[in-house]
Every structure is written in structure tokens, then in C-alpha cells.
Amino acid sequence: MNDPRYLLAVVSLPFLGSMIAAALPQAGRNWASALAGTIALAGVGLLAAFYPAIAGGEIVRLEAAWLPSLGLQFTLRLDGFTWLFALLVLSMGALVILYARYYMSPKDPVPRFFAFLQAFMGAMLGIVLSGNLIQLAFFWELTSLFSFLLIGYWHHNQAARDGARMALIVTSLGGVCMLIGFLLLGRITGSYDVDTVLAAGSTVRAHGAYLPVLILILLGAFTKSAQVPFHFWLPHAMAAPTPVSAYLHSATMVKAGIFLLILLWPVLSGTESWYLIVTTAGLATLLVGAWSAIFQQDLKGLLAYSTISHLGLITLLLGLGSPLAAVAAIFHTLNHATFKASLFMAAGIIDHETGTRDLRRLSGLARFMPITATLAMVAAAAMAGVPLLNGFLSKEMFLAEALEAHSGTILDAALPILATLASAFSVFYSIRFIHQSFFGPPPVDLPHSPREAPHWMRFPIEILVLACLLVGILPGLTIGPLLALAVGAVLGEQTPAYSLAVWHGFNPPLLMSLIALVGGALAYGRYGARLNAVERSPLIGRLKARRTFEAALAAIIDWARTLQDLLGTTKLQVQLRLLIGTAILVGTLPFLFLDYRPGSQPVALIDPVFALLWTIGSLCAVGAAWQAKFHRLVALSLIGGAGLATCISFIWLSAPDLGLTQLLVEIITLVLLLLGLRWLPLRQPDIWPEARTPWSVRLRRSRDLLLAVSGGIGMAALSYAMMTRPSAPSISRYFVENAYPGGGGANVVNVILVDFRGFDTLGEITVLAIVALTVFTLLRRFRPAPESVELPHQQQRQNDFDRDDEERSHGDTLIHYLFVPRIIMQWLFPVILTFAIYLLMRGHDLPGGGFAGGVTASIAILLLYMAGGTRWVEAHLDIRPLRWISLGLLLAVGTGIAAWIGGYPFLTSHFSYLRIPLIGDIPIASALLFDIGVFAVVVGTTVLILIALAHQSIRSPLKRKGEAERHPSPADGTA
């Protein structure tokens, strides 16, 4: 049972549970909680199985390659200390899950809650068990993220959203600092592995970068553990459901900072800077937290500030740097988790049963919920440090450490007094918590009439309170061995002798405890009654950490907005001008600095036909640019002229495949744009009523013309310089040499596409499929502009003609229109389809291939649509473009996967030739199957887009008053 792989199960099971819980229906409250509880208990069981090995002082490690090129390993590591912490996380988790089952209302989406909670538990375990600092930082940020989601669980609540955002910003900023610290630490020690770093303590402390490392890592720990001045997020996180407060914000997540301090204690502690920074922060937090807790009117607010103060106490202990103080810190971490979680749960019960958490409204609840009251009293007594409870033991150790001299500074001298003072505050607010809510006259005017909570909701509190008592009375028997395990793992040979006995004789720490207890009680007796009138805590209340935070946030957002206003634009034209202008500028700079020269390669003689071709092509291009505004159809035809010239050039320049494909794609694109023309608005030629266009417009046009012309000149110059230079050696050589021997095809371009670079082609057809689906989806919700809805003039005239003549019925003219060509077009369908398949089959050896074939096949279908009209085609032919697309993609991917089965990498091709009488050699290559996939996707995509566009004209237009009656049925037709 000591297989390290079980560690992986400990970390991953909660994430698995989270995913399952996320998939449960909203009403699955019982299932979600049962699953979560089982997983937490299974984790406890797995950890228990590791106990023998851990007790023997062993460190269990699990390693797997993560980013080996960067020297990073995924490491899980379990020693005595992390074992104890993981146990704390899991057992607290189990109790909180049970509690949450009863706390959460069935009206809330409870499975989502458990999904977040378990994911958090997994992330927390990830922090604790990480054997690698980078990995630790990753899980650290995950806990911030899930804490954000959990605090904001009731996202309809403004306070919850604000609190969640504040917690996320503060803790993740700290996390980033910590990551930088880790990176520096990794540079110093040469490894991110925790064990290596732990062994390199003296090197780190002597290194010049020690102070920055220390400060950065402390920033991470302090933000997470809510140390002054970063404490303000914790009270606002109380907007979370109470189980979250009990779990994350008292027992586990806020302890992550403490965990980190303890984990790296052997490396970073023991220097003067550590002592000064950590002790000061801890002491400040202890006092500020305890003082503010006294003045809270919200039950959970009181507990939150008390948590801050206890976290400060632990930090202070760690700052002292002595081994005994470290023992006390670990011990108090456990004790605090026990009593604070139970107090949160009790506060949750009060809130749940009375409907309020306002201390001023609560009173005399002990007679309505006697059991909860008793439990809360014991837990609060542990918080106050009353003897025979666990809180007393660790507080004694703390007071004893406070008395020891550590540095001889003023801090040292003041520590005993301040520690006693803080303990007295703690007694004060503990008494207030209990007295105000459970004693006094019966409450009046509560939202609900109070009663005892269900038994299973109290059960987790009972367990925790029992633990407080057992540890407090019999420390040696209960917590002793576990604590020794953890302490031994952290301190190693430095482990001091310590005693967990309840009675150490009458000594100074006991005296300080008594002073605190009596002083706190007396102070409450004297001032307690006045507190209900206090709005904010005196002295500290003026320090508005939250205000500062919000002001900083608002300032940052303002700056960003100002910058955006200054530098950004939402105008596409301006963006394009800037983009192209920059490109031209950057392209010109090298020529300016390094001189422009045509190459020395001899140029070929100008062929007059080629020159004529491009004279026409250029005229077409310029004409299209000229006419595109007012004469769209003319521009479209001229573009076709330029395209044709391009097409011929491809064939001229030994690229028959390109010529073929370009020609076919030209046809499809033209039809597509023609289909779109109908939905464009009429252009108003006289937009400026004055005779002259304004100067600003002229200026803008000249500027555009200048940009366009300089871009053109630049491209021309660049191409000429390139073409007159010898070409550099390229990978083409390999492709030409291996096309036939390696790919079994004579057409090198096709072999590259379907074989050598098959993966690229797979990506490309996927893009095509996505475009088709996007077009389809956009057009399904398409609503044409109002003035485009009317039938085109031609169709109106046809229909009028049909209506006026008594012998004709609606649609007759359309039927006879171009009758002979239409029949020819229909008859051409099988011919073109055969040609398409021919192009596909021969593609491996001769110009053709899946793209060309696919486009040809869609042209066949397109002609059918043009000849017969949409309704006619769809009554006779069942084209399912979506199916074509999916089958094509499946075929292409399947061909690739088939190579895996043969033991080759993805998309490795196999080929042979099959001799068929009369037809000849047919290449039977797996690449052909792939090409058929390409074919199918291209057919599906093209047809889907065209059909979607064509259907726009036969859809019933958006119903507008009166219009629907005037045009009962728009005529068939595609354009």
C-alpha cells in the first residue's frame, strides 16, 4: 500500500469528483454531497495507508516528466508535515461537506457548489503535496481561482461579487510575486525541487539575492494568509456561504501562506531580515485583528477578524525563528483550524435558523438551541485559551516564546506585554460572541423563529469540539505523535525538546494567561454593553485598507480607459490605414538604410502575349477599384478579368494545378458574390448636395491613394528584386526527389498536400468546415434590410405579366425563361460530376486532386440550382452538405489514425498501384482516401454556403405589417 502512485489518486480524485458533480442536475444535492464526502474519506483512507512509512521518517516521492526540456518534473512529495496538513485538508473537507449538505438550500444549484468545493480541495492538496515549487505556484493560483468562484457563489449578490473580486486580485497578485520569488530561488539553488531547495538553506541565506527572494515569497504568503496590510480581503470574503468560510477562510486556504512559511522555514528563516519582517507583520496582524474583532456587529465578521488575528499569531511565532516557536506555530495551526471551523459552523447554524447574523439583534438563543449553544461555548473557550482546551496549550507555548529573548530589540522587550494584550482581546471578543448571541432576554423580531438545527448538521461541530477537548485534556495521547511527526519533518535535527503536558507548574506564561483571561472578562463586564452602538472600530477603523484598494483599482481602470481613448479607435478604416501604413514603413526602412538594387540574375525576355495579358489584367484591376462603389456588377466582372489573368499566369508559370483550382474557385466566388448583391443597398450618388466634394474628403482620398500607390510600388520593387536573385536552397529538393519513391505520386504538389504536409491540409479543411458552419449559423438568423425584402424588379415584372394575362398563371414566365439552356445545364450535371471524380482520382499523378474535384462537383450542383431553381432541385435531389462535411472530416482523420494502428506516426501514407483492364494503373494510396475526405469537405462546405445564401430569397421575409399580404410567395430563383 506504499506505492507512491496512490499519492496521485489523493490529488486527482477531488478533481474527478468535481467534474462529476458539475455534470449532475441541479436537484442532485444528495448525490453531489455523498460523492464529495466519499471522495474526501477515501483520501483520508489513502493517507492513513501511508502512515507507517511516514512514521518511519521516510519521504514518499512520485516523479513524472512534465517539461523535461526545462528540467521540470511533476513531483508529489509526502513527509510528516505535509502528511499532517493533507490530513487536515481532507478531514476538514469531509466535515464541511456533511455540514454543507444541510446548510445549502435546495433552491441553490448545489452540485455546482460541490464541484467548486472539491476542485478547491484538490488544488489545496496539490499545494500541500507538491514536490516542485513551480507546480506549487500553479496549485496556489488554482486555490485563488476556486476561492473566487466560491465566494461569488451567490453571484446575484453584489457584496459576493465584490468580495470575490477583491480576494482574487489580492491573492493572485501575491501569487505572482511568489512565483517570481520561486524563479529566483530556483536560479540560486539550481533546481525547483523542494527537497533540493530545502537542502540548500545556507547557500540561499548567504546569496546576494536573498532579500528580494524573501520579500517576494513573503508577499505571496502574506496576501494569502491575510496579514496586515493585505488583511482587508478576508472580512469581505465572508459573503461566501458559511461552509466556504469555515473551510477556505479559516481552516485551509488562509493557512496556505502559513504552510509555505513553515515549508520554507528551514531555508529562509534565521536571518535578521526574516525576523524583522515576519515578526512585525505577524504582531501587527495579531493586534489589528484582535482589536477589530471586538467591534464587529456581524457574527462572521467577528470570526473573520479573529481568524486574521490568529493567523498573525502563527506568523509571529514563525518570525521568531526559534525551533520551539516553530513547534508552537504548527500546533496552533491545527488547533485554530479545529475551533474556528466549528465556530463558523455554529455561526452558520444561527444564521440558518434565525435569519440574521447581526449581533445586535441576537439574544438569548441558548434556550432555543441548547446543544449548539453548548458546542459554541466550548469552541469559543478554546479560542479564548481557557485551560483544558486545545487553544490553551498552543497559547501557553506562544506566551512562553514571547518571554524568550530573541534579538534584543525594542520588539523583543514589548512582545510579552503586547502578547498578553492580544490574548485579553481574544478573551474579550470570545465572551462577546457567546454572551451576545446565547444569553440575555429572548430575541425579538427575528426573520425566523429560532430552533435547534438538525442533528447531522451539528454532527461536524460535535466532532470538532470533541477534538478540542481531547487534545486539550490528553495532548500526549492524541495529537502528540502526529505533531512529533510534522515537527520532525520540518526541523530535522534542530527538533527541540518540548512538552505537551496540561500542567507545567505555576510559571510566567500561566500568569500571563490568567491576566489575559481575567482582564478580558473584566473589560467585557465594563464595556461590553456599549459595543452595540459602535459603528466602526476605534483607532484602526480609520485605516481604510479597502478604500485604498478600491481607489487604486478605479485609478488603474481610469488610466486604461484614458489610454484606450488616446491610442485606440473603433473605426475599421483608421485601423487598416495604420496597419498598412506601418507595414509599408517597416518594409521600406531596410531599403532606405541598405540601398535598393535589382539582382544580377539574367532576366527572361518579355513575351508580348504575357505583356498583353497583364495589360488587360491591370486595366481590369484598376477599373474594378474605380467602379466598385457605384457599379458593383461591373466591378465584379472586372475582378473576374484580373482573376483570369492570374489564372493564365499560373499555367504559364508551370503551375497547372493552381490554374485549374483558381479557375474553378473563381466561378464559385463569382456566383457567391452575385448572390450577395441583392442584399446590398442602393448607392446614392449625390451624397454631397453641393457641386464640389468637401476638402476633408478629397484629402482623405488623396491620402488613401498615396498609401495604396506606395504599397503597390513597394510590392513591385520587392518582387522584382526577389525575382532577379538566385533562389536560396530550399526543402523543395527533398519533395521532388521523394514524391514518387516515398509518396507514390507523380504530381509533387498534390503529394505535398495529401502526404508530406497532410496535417496542414487536415487543418485547412477543418477551417473550411468551421467557416461553412459559421456562415450557415449566421444566415439562419439573418434578417435582410427592409428595402431589400421586396422582390427584384425583374421578378415583379414577370409576376405582373402573369397576373394581367388571363391565360397564364403565376410563375409561367419563369418556367419558359431560358428553357433550352436550362435543359442543357441539367443534362450537364452527370458529365460535370464524372469530370469531378476524374479530377479527384488522377490528382496524385496529374493536375487535379481533392480541392479541384470538390469545387467542380459543387459547380455541378450549383448549375442544377441555377437551372431548376431551389425548390425544384430540393424536390429531386437530397443534398446533405452537413453530412458531406462530417463524413469528409471523419475520413481524413480516420486515414490518419489508421496509420497509428500500423504502428506509424499520424497520417503516414501507404500506397500501391492496382492494374485494371482498359483503365490502367490506379494508384491505391491511403493518400487517396485522405484526398476523398478533402473532396467531401470541399463539396459540403461550398454547397452549404451557396445553398444557405440561395435560400435567403425564398425564405418568408420578416413579417411587417401589410407587406406579407402583398407578396404571398416570392418566386423561385437563386439570384
Partner: protein, 113 residues
Amino acid sequence: MEIVLSLAIGILTASGLWLLFRPRTFQVILGLSLLSYAVNLFIIAAGRLRTDAPPIVGKGAADPAAYADPVPQALVLTAIVISFATTALLLVVLMASRGLTGTDHVDGEDGEA
């Protein structure tokens, strides 16, 4: 030959860019088409101009020097198909935007022509 093709690329680019800066979506689509011709020709030119030497090899070992460069051709073949897809997408976005905003201005609002 080289000078003719260079000029052709230049003129196609200039016309395409001019249309790209126009405010109406249809003009922008046409501009992109012209630009894609120019770019495709430029890529082919990067393999240098060869006439009568298509990359269809015989059976057996082939001498690379005897054929046109197949790599730019494969690239352009891909580019042709993708530019068809982008044109289709842009056209549909244009139509949708015109239906939604009532104008065919690229910014969806008629500021200036």
C-alpha cells in the same frame, strides 16, 4: 517577364489597397480578392519564374532542377481555397451586419461616405 509580373503584382496590390480603405463593405471584399491575387502571384514568384516545367515527375529518381518549385505551388493552392472561405465568410458577415444596422458601412454606422 520579371518586370511584367512585378508590375502586375504592384498594380493588383495598389488597386486592392485602395479598395481596402473604402468605407463600404462590398468594396472591401473586392479589395481583399485583388490583394489575394497579388499575394498568390508573389508567392509563386518566390519560386522564381519557370515556363514549361510543371512539377509532374516521372517514375524513378527525379532531378529537382528540371522542375518548377512545388512548395510555393502547394502554399498557393491552400491560399486559394482559404481565401474563398474568407470571402464567403466576409460576405455573410456583411449581409448580417447590413440587416442588423441598416447600413453597409464597415463600422456599422453611417458617419461619412
